[in-house]
Amino acid sequence: MKKLAMILLSAASIALFGRVAYLILLAPSSDAALLDHEFRQAAYTITWAIQLGYLAWLCMKWQSQKRDGALHDSGKSLTR
C-alpha cells in the first residue's frame, strides 16, 4: 500500500513536469491571453510537481530508513 502510494506520487510528479514542458515548449499559443493562461497553468503545475516529487523522495527515504532500522535491530539480536 505504501509502496503504491510512493509510486503514484512519483508518477504524478513526473506527469506534472511533463505537462509543464508541454505547456511551455510545445503548446505556446500566439494569442496573448491564452499564452498568459498557459504560463499561469505551468507555474501552478510546476509548484505541485516539485512538492510532490520532494514528498515522494522523502517517503522513499523514510521507507529505506525503516528497513535499515529493522535490519539493524535484527543484527543486534543476532549478536546477543
Partner: protein
Amino acid sequence: MKKPLIGIYILVTLALMAWGYYQAIYVAPNDAMQGEIFRIIYYHVPSFAVAFAFFAVSLAGSIGFLAFRRNFPDRAQIADALALAGAEIGVVFCTVGLTTGPLWGRRAWGIWWTWDARLTTTLVLWLIYMSYLLLRRFAGGPQMQTLAAVLGIFGALDVPIVYMANRWWRTQHPAPVFGGAEGSGMDPTMVGALMWNMLAWFAWGALILALRYRVERQHQKIAAAEAQRALEA
C-alpha cells in the same frame, strides 16, 4: 490519539490547498495591467514566505546545535535535525519561487531572467543552502555538523538582504506590495486569496517539515546505534 490528529491535520491542509486554489482562480479578479498571469503571485509569494520561515527554523536549529553540542548532546542532535529539515524544506520552497518567477517574468517583462539585485540575491540564497545540503550529504566526520551549522547561520544572513533588495536598490523585480512605499498594496479580494494560499502553503510546509525531521531523527538513532555497536565489537 496521535494518528487521528495527524489525519485531521492532513485533511485540513488539503482543504486549505483546495480553498486557496479556488480563491486564486475563481474569486480573485484579473489584474488590470497584467491580466491572468498576475495570478502566479498566489503561489510565488507564499513559496518565498514559507522558504524564509523555514530558513529561520534552520537558523534556530544551527544556533541551538552550536550552543548545545558540548554539554547537551541529545538536545544538539534535535537542533541539528531541525536545522537540516528547515534548510531542506526551505530549499524546496525557494526552488518553487525561483521557477514560478521566471514564468511570470517571461510574460510580464519579456525575459526569463535578469541579474537584478532581488533575483541575484535570491539565487545566491538558494546556492548557499544547496551547498549546505551537499555538505551534509557528502562530508563526513565529527566536524561535519559544526561546519553545516556555521554555513546554515551564514546562509540565513542572506534572507534579510533578499527581502530588502528591492527596497535598497532599483530592480527589475517590482517594488514591494506589502510594507512598501505609499500607495503600495493590493485589492482586498486579492489579499484574501493571497492570505489563504499563504496559510495553505505554511500548513503544507509544516507537514513535510515534521516528516523530514522525523526521518532525520531516525537516521541519527540508527547512526548512533551503529557507532555503539562498532565500539562494542
